[in-house]
């Protein structure tokens, strides 16, 4: 087992991590939700966060684009780095941070506007499309990359809320892509979807990996195994085990990981 671990490590190219956490701690008021987490996220790969409910997966995920800022009782300490830059530095512009680190939520949440406006909103506020024609192009490429273009190209002026759940979630992914992020955070993106829509999104994630770094929180072991290259297992706020997905699922080191993936805790 030790051998295979070493082999795994050797076969991976030592790319510089795009996200780096050292001694990450998160408190909600007095309650500690993340305890001393250290993790390196590799670029252009899918990393899955798994673990029982309430273990802090969403909390850690939301640290990367500072979505925790809007929760007044939330306090973050430790070092969180994005491409070598401290995310929690007071100099950091949250707006441009979130432009680079996009997010897709558990429940599809398109704006109650047209499909076109849903995609165009991000580029517009960031000033990414100076001439009007560029916007058209951004909308088309984003929807194409999210695999939605063919389905909606004739109804771009119709409300995004009128799409099916799976389509809405792909619309949200397209919306996140439209601002040209480096990282896309996905918090249980398929939990509100049926198996077919889930399969579509999973294929999409696999394609997006080439251009983006993706972190996905999921409760489905199968999903983690299918889409991710790296998996992190959390338990009660601690990062218990982090490694290649293959290794975590075939030969977990920690007993808690083993229990979880075999369905004994969770």
């Amino acid at each position: 087992m030790v051998e295979s671990l070493a082999m795994n490590e050797a076969s991976e190219q030592p790319a510089t991590p795009i996200l780096k956490v050292r001694n990450g701690q998160v408190f909600y008021a007095e309650k500690q939700a993340i305890i001393d987490v250290n993790v390196d996220i590799q670029p252009n790969a899918v990393t899955a966060f798994i673990g029982p409910s309430g273990c802090g997966k969403s909390t850690l995920l939301r640290c990367f684009n500072r979505m925790n800022d809007v929760i007044p009782i939330c306090r973050v300490s430790g070092s969180f780095e994005f491409s070598g830059q401290d995310i929690y530095d007071s100099e950091v512009d949250v707006v441009s941070l979130r432009q680079r680190i996009g997010m897709v939520f558990q429940k599809p949440n398109p704006f109650p506007k047209s499909i076109f406006d849903n995609i165009a909103y991000g580029p517009k506020i960031h000033g990414l499309a100076s001439p009007k024609a560029e916007m058209q192009e951004i909308v088309e490429t984003s929807l194409t990359r999210a695999g939605l273009w063919e389905e909606v190209k004739n109804r771009l002026d119709q409300p995004g809320t009128g799409l099916s759940g799976g389509q809405q979630q792909r619309l949200c992914i397209a919306r996140a892509i439209a601002v040209q992020p480096k990282v896309i955070l996905m918090d249980e993106p398929c939990s509100a979807l049926d198996p077919i829509a889930t399969a579509t999104i999973e294929t999409l994630i696999d394609e997006l990996r080439e251009s983006y770094t993706i972190i996905i929180v999921t409760h489905s072991m199968q999903q983690a195994a299918r889409v991710s290259q790296k998996t992190a297992f959390f338990h009660l706020g601690e990062l218990v085990e982090f490694g290649s997905t293959e290794q975590i699922f075939s030969s977990p080191v920690d007993e808690r990981t083993q229990n979880y993936i075999t369905g004994r805790i969770g």
């Binding site: 707006v95 432009q99 996009g102 997010m103 939520f105 909103y121």
Partner: protein, 425 residues
């Protein structure tokens, strides 16, 4: 008992009886409130519609050149200066030569409105070719004659008990016989200002006064209320201060409106010396009164915007202000608008604070701006209801009908706006 019998409703069961009893209570409550509403609106309508009609009398008036325009210039300014009251009186005497005694002549003159001479003056000034001939003019009958014609004065009563004497009744009957008296639609009521004479009094001054007052009220209360709500709901820390403010706003919504009137009197009029009796001050006072309503309605509609929309915008890198004004406020806008319209409808019916700031004055002219003295619809109702003349009773009811009409329009607008702007998820 078979299985199928168990699932059938048994009419005698306790649960079933409680249910139908509750349903009956609800129906009774609705029936009672509906019947009160019907009685109220029915009686007001019955009394008020009479005011939409006015009796007119036709009189042949001699317009001799030497009296009206001795120099023959036909200048409207000169024509306006002539004494038409005298001409009218002599015309009446000519038509009814049987009025010889002073008292009889007085009764005769009282057949027509004291404002009739002005309507003849205006017609002559507008059409100078009338001068130098005898022309028939339709003029307003006096309020008493009008009431007699509408049947509210009973001719069979003893003479001393009624406001129209026997002689007058005889004259009216002879006018009737010659077709010189008729009831017409009372346009003056809708286009004119207030008057001491019931037959001349109109609602327009009060309608315009109310409209200007509400305009000021809306312009002040809506932006301030919405911004306050947005700040409290979206930006301020949700701490003890916020809760303290919320409690106080709720209290302010329950403060009797007269207190706002006193505040307006003490501060706006006495400290800032703003013009008394004007829609400007009235609107400011009503704005103070409506603010809590608007803030409360706006806050609750902001709260109803799903947090997922805020997250979506934040996640894309929208700033707090962008998130709020691009997404949250537009979604809350239908609720804010309907809340505001309902607050404005309350303000439209508000009388007490306007009394305090002097909008109760007797004003004949239709106000031309927010700094001109004016009165408002409910105050007009109050003024007319307070007048002893029989003719003002129907005006009061008619004014209430007009006010109710505006209230219905505003509430329908609220419903329409909500339907129109609401986003279906």
């Amino acid at each position: 008992m078979t299985e199928s019998a168990i699932i059938l409703k048994s009419a005698g069961s306790k649960r079933h009886r409680a249910e139908s009893r509750f349903r009956a209570y609800g129906l009774i409550a609705i029936a009672i409130s509906l019947s009160f509403l019907l009685i109220m609106i029915g009686s007001i309508t019955m009394r008020g519609t009479a005011a939409f009609k006015q009796t007119f009398v036709q009189i042949e008036v001699n317009l001799p050149t030497e009296k009206l325009d001795p120099e023959g210039t036909r200048d409207p300014e000169v024509l306006r200066k002539a004494r038409y009251g005298k001409l009218l009186k002599s015309a009446l005497r000519e038509q009814f030569p049987d009025a010889k005694k002073r008292a009889d002549k007085k009764s005769l003159y009282k057949l027509i409105s004291s404002t009739a001479e002005y309507s003849i003056r205006d017609q002559v000034a507008a059409n100078p070719s009338l001068v130098g001939g005898i022309h028939p003019f339709w003029v307003r009958a006096s309020s008493d004659v009008d009431q007699y014609m509408k049947g509210t004065i009973d001719g069979s009563l003893e003479e001393s008990q009624r406001r129209v004497n026997d002689k007058q009744i005889a004259w009216i009957e002879s006018l009737k016989a010659s077709g010189s008296i008729e009831s017409r639609f009372n346009t003056q009521f809708f286009t004119g200002g207030d008057s001491r004479e019931p037959e001349q009094a109109g609602i327009m001054g009060a309608v315009v006064g109310s409209a200007l007052t509400l305009l000021i009220c809306f312009l002040l209360a809506f932006p301030i209320g919405v911004l306050a709500a947005v700040y409290l709901e979206e930006f301020s820390a949700k701490g003890r201060i916020n809760r303290f403010i919320e409690v106080n706003i709720n209290n302010l919504a329950a403060v009797p409106s007269i207190v706002y009137g006193l505040l307006g009197l003490a501060i706006l009029l006495n400290v800032f010396n703003l013009p008394r009796s004007t829609p400007l001050v009235g609107g400011m006072v009503l704005a103070l009164m409506t603010l809590p309503t608007i803030i409360i309605a706006s806050r609750s509609s902001l709260r109803a915007v799903p947090p997922s929309i805020r997250e979506a915008a934040f996640g894309l890198g929208a700033s707090k202000v962008q998130t709020t004004f691009h997404h949250v406020v537009p979604l809350a806008m239908p609720g804010m608008l309907t809340g505001s319209i309902i607050g404005m409808a309350q303000a439209l019916g508000e009388t007490a604070p306007l009394l305090m700031i002097g909008m109760v004055a007797f004003i004949v002219d239709v106000p031309g701006g927010v700094t001109e003295a004016a009165t408002a619809l409910p105050v007009q109702i109050f003024l007319w209801a307070d007048s002893p003349e029989r003719g003002f009773m129907e005006k009061t009811s008619a004014a209430i009908l007009v006010l109710l009409g505006f209230l219905v329009i505003m509430n329908l607008a609220a419903v329409y706006l909500r339907r129109r702007l609401e986003i279906r998820w």
